[in-house]
Each structure stands twice: as structure tokens, then as C-alpha cells.
């Protein structure tokens, strides 16, 4: 479980996040949703301190991450797997080397065991046999899947996904969403997914936090997202033509 308290962040005069608190439970994906530029990715990066928040505290399973020493932060970070928007694969390494990288750097295990683990996770994300390919040879969806494989190879307790569906076609998006949900349930990780894709929201949105202009306006699940009573959320949800059509037909 990850808890955040009163997270705020400004860049110069621009206030990007204001006083955001919340709890992210384990075992089901936790979605942070909102329009582009509302601070979702900044919030995610504040949680892992890739961006240092101006105010607020973050707790990983009760461990105070914000006030932890450098060494303690490194220990906690080694329990995190993160999927970045563009995959963030190392260009000079093959798929296999990319996925094995966290094991090479952080795990003390024999080479054969590492190889088995790499093959296992590549198989899990549907990329069996892609070991020797370079990132430049991969499609967007494949890059995302390699990114997920690298994020889970070290059995992380916490899985963060920043816009996992951006730039992907709807079918591949569904595959990625289902993969994230299955991995979260199978490995019992605390998973946070940042997205603005309504398909993802309606597919895996059991726990949702809605951010608008740097503030948390709503928390709930996909079951009650269409009747939240929050105007900004309604605007966001029904900007999707399919959702609007369903609303007009009285299906939501």
C-alpha cells in the first residue's frame, strides 16, 4: 500500500499540484486520470521522487519515503518497477539485455537463473523469441511490453505505469491493460497507472483518482464514474464519443 499526504509541487510560479492526498491499495490497479497537462505524471514522479515535491509525504507500506535517508530510499526504490511513457529502453542494449539489466545490477543470482527469469517474463508479456532484437526494431506496443517485462523482472512490490497506452491502437491498449491487471493480481503488487484513456478507465478502473488542474477532485471506481456529480469529471468522461453515445442511449 502507498499513502500520499498533501503533495504539492510548483515549477516557478506555476502551481502544478495542490495538496493531493490518497491511498493506493495493492492487488488491483489504481488509476490516476485526468486531462493532459493536469499534473498526473508529475504526481507519479513525485511519489518516487524523480521530481522532489515542495510539500507532502509519501509512505510505502508504512515506511516514510520522504524523510528516509539516501540509503533507505535506494532500498525502497529497488522494490519499484516502472513503465515509462516511451518505454525508456536502453537503445544500445538488446531486448534481453534491457530486461536482464535490473537483475545484473541489483540481484545476486547465477547467470542461468537470470536467463530463465528473463525468458519467463518475456514469455509472460508475449514476447517469446524477441530476445536479440534491438529497441529500434520494435513497434510501440512491443516497446511497452519490453518496458513492462523490465519493470517486473525483479519481482517488484510496487509497479508504476506512466501512460501505458499512449500512442497505441485500441486493441494493443486492451492487451497492455489486461497485462497490467493480471500482473498486479498475480504478483499482488501495489500498482499505480497514470492514464487519460477512457478505455483503460472502463477496463481496469476499479480504483480511480481524478485530477483536475493539479487538484484531486474525485475518487471512486468505474462503476460510479458516470454519476459522480463532479462537472469536471463528467466533461472528461463524456468527451469520449462512445461514452457520450452510451449516455444518450441511457446505457450509463
Amino acid at each position: 500500500m502507498i499513502e500520499i499526504f498533501n503533495i504539492s509541487k510548483s515549477f516557478g510560479d506555476k502551481k502544478v499540484l495542490t495538496d493531493i492526498s490518497g491511498t493506493f491499495e495493492k492487488g488491483k490497479p489504481n488509476l490516476i486520470i485526468g486531462a493532459s497537462g493536469t499534473g498526473k505524471s508529475v504526481l507519479l514522479k513525485c511519489i518516487v521522487e524523480l521530481i522532489t515535491p515542495d510539500e507532502g509525504k509519501v509512505f510505502f507500506d508504512g515506511r516514510n519515503f520522504t524523510d528516509a535517508s539516501r540509503k533507505e530510499k535506494i532500498e525502497i526504490r529497488r522494490e519499484i518497477g516502472m513503465l515509462f511513457q516511451g518505454g525508456a529502453l536502453f537503445d544500445s542494449k538488446t531486448v534481453e539485455e534491457n530486461v536482464r539489466f535490473p537483475l545484473d545490477m541489483l540481484a545476486n543470482m547465477p547467470r542461468d537463473e537470470k536467463q530463465d527469469r528473463v525468458n519467463l517474463v518475456l514469455n509472460r508479456v508475449g514476447l517469446k523469441g524477441a530476445n536479440k532484437k534491438m529497441p529500434s526494431e520494435l513497434s510501440g506496443g512491443m516497446r511497452k511490453r519490453v518496458g513492462i517485462a523490465r519493470a517486473i523482472v525483479n519481482n517488484p512490490k510496487y509497479l508504476f505505469c506512466d501512460e501505458p497506452n499512449s500512442g497505441l491502437d485500441p486493441q494493443t491498449s486492451i492487451v497492455i491493460d489486461e497485462l497490467i491487471r493480471d500482473l498486479t493480481e498475480d504478483y499482488d503488487t501495489t500498482t499505480i497507472v497514470v492514464t487519460h484513456d477512457m478505455n483503460s478507465v472502463m477496463g481496469i478502473g476499479d480504483r480511480i483518482m481524478f485530477i483536475h488542474q493539479g487538484r484531486k477532485l474525485w475518487e471512486g471506481s468505474k462503476d460510479n464514474i458516470t454519476h459522480s456529480g463532479v462537472k469536471e469529471l463528467d466533461d472528461f468522461v463524456f468527451a469520449n464519443k462512445v461514452m457520450m453515445a452510451m449516455k444518450e442511449k441511457g446505457q450509463v
Binding site: K45, V48, L50, R70, K73, I74, E75, R77, R78, I80, M82, F84, Q85, G86, A88, L89, F90, D91, F101, P102, D104, M105, L106, R150, F160
Partner: protein, 245 residues
């Protein structure tokens, strides 16, 4: 001042939370190959022509008949060892290797590869930059030695072909009143310049913000700042180590 402070914090982070020797060993070898092998042809080409041109121009300026011809190669030797090989080559090193380092790290930054390392709990500065600095400290002094030899050989060949001075006169001038400290001085300079170019270029690349355009800007800034640092350090070292007490 803020920028200088941030540069020194960056240098401090090179040595904290270090990765294992085994990890660095492989990375340093890779960087040595990139820096050394990829630059040596350019260094040989530039330094050979520099030595050749120095010989011709020195001969052109020494018109008095009572000055012995071996003075030409003596002047070429002093110019090459004291300035051309370590300093002019450092500027070329900044242009070729420094811009490449900045571009490489800048691209890693904007594509979130550096963030990916940080999230894994890896000190990205130590992991990415230290091997570049160590490899530069190993390879640049070697390149300077190669450049010095090539410049002297270039001068020898041109002096001989054009008849400016005979091979015996050239060799005599090269050996005449040779002070071995000038080579030591050149090597000291090469270590200092290697550190400045690699650390400044890495710093500029590491803190790139934005997109592809900013990566280009970082590379340009890396070269400009490195060249200024080289020239300042060149003057300071000459003042400290060569000025009469």
C-alpha cells in the same frame, strides 16, 4: 555561480553510491574504445598536418641567414609539445568526444532512460558519467602522445620533401636543448583537459531539459564551455608550472 555550484555537486555525485568495480570495468573499456579508436584517425590527420604547416611557416619566418636551420625543428618541437598536441587537440577532443557525450546523455535524459536508472535505485551519475571520465583520463593522454609524434613526423616529412632542412638538421633540432619537463607538462595538461572536457560535457548533457532541439543546444554548450575551460586551465597551468620563480 549557481551553475558552478551545481557542477561541483554533480562531481560529488560521481563518487557516492558507487556501482561495483566489475560493472565499471566493462563500461570503462567500452568508453575507451569509443573515445580512443573513434578519435585516433582524426588526431593523426590533424596533428600530421599541423606539424607540416608549422615547419613551413617557421621556415618562412626565419629569414636571417645566420640562424641555423635546425632552429626550425626546435621551434616545431616546442610548439608541438607545449601547445599544439595537448591544447589544440583538446579543443578537437571537446568538439568530437565532448559533443558526443553531451548528446548521448541528453538523449538518455529526454527519453527517460536516466529516470529509469534512478527508479531502480542506481546512481545514474556514477553509472553513466564516471566511466566516461575515467576512459577520457586514460585515452586522452595517449592520444596527445600520438598527436605529438605525428606532428613531429609530419614536420620531418615536409621539411625533407620541400628541402627546407635536411633530415639530419631536423633530427638535430628536435634533440637540441631538449627539456624533458616539457613532456611532463604536456601530460599534466592532457589529464586536466581530459577531466574538464569529459565532466563538463557530461554535466551539460545530463541536465538537458526538453526535446531533441535542447539536446543539440546542450551539445553546443558542452563544446563552448569546455573550450573556455581548456583555455583558462591552459593559462593557469602555464603560469603555475612554467613561469620563472
Amino acid at each position: 555561480m549557481k551553475e558552478i555550484g551545481r557542477y561541483f555537486i554533480f562531481l560529488g555525485n560521481l563518487l557516492v553510491n558507487r556501482e561495483s568495480f566489475k560493472t565499471h570495468y566493462k563500461l570503462v573499456i567500452d568508453e575507451c574504445v569509443l573515445i580512443g579508436l573513434d578519435s585516433i584517425f582524426l588526431f593523426i590527420l590533424v596533428s600530421s598536418f599541423m606539424g607540416a604547416v608549422s615547419t613551413v611557416q617557421t621556415a618562412f619566418n626565419l629569414v636571417a641567414p645566420y640562424i641555423p636551420k635546425y632552429v626550425i625543428s626546435q621551434v616545431v618541437r616546442e610548439m608541438t609539445v607545449l601547445e599544439l598536441a595537448p591544447t589544440v587537440m583538446a579543443i578537437i577532443f571537446a568538439g568530437k568526444v565532448g559533443s558526443s557525450m553531451a548528446g548521448n546523455l541528453g538523449t538518455m535524459r529526454i527519453t527517460e532512460q536516466i529516470d529509469a536508472l534512478e527508479v531502480m535505485g542506481i546512481n545514474s551519475i556514477n553509472y553513466l558519467v564516471l566511466p566516461k571520465v575515467i576512459a577520457s583520463l586514460i585515452m586522452y593522454p595517449m592520444l596527445v602522445v600520438v598527436a605529438g609524434v605525428c606532428a613531429l613526423v609530419g614536420g620531418y616529412i615536409v621539411g625533407n620533401i620541400t628541402g627546407i632542412l635536411s633530415p639530419d638538421e631536423y633530427i638535430y633540432g628536435i634533440r637540441y636543448m631538449f627539456n624533458p619537463f616539457t613532456v611532463t607538462f604536456a601530460l599534466i595538461k592532457s589529464f586536466v583537459f581530459a577531466f574538464l572536457v569529459s565532466s563538463i560535457s557530461s554535466y551539460k548533457g545530463y541536465y538537458t531539459r526538453g526535446g531533441a532541439l535542447e539536446v543539440g543546444i546542450s551539445s553546443t554548450k558542452a563544446v563552448t564551455t569546455s573550450v573556455i575551460a581548456i583555455l583558462l586551465a591552459d593559462y593557469l597551468l602555464a603560469q603555475l608550472l612554467l613561469s620563472p620563480a
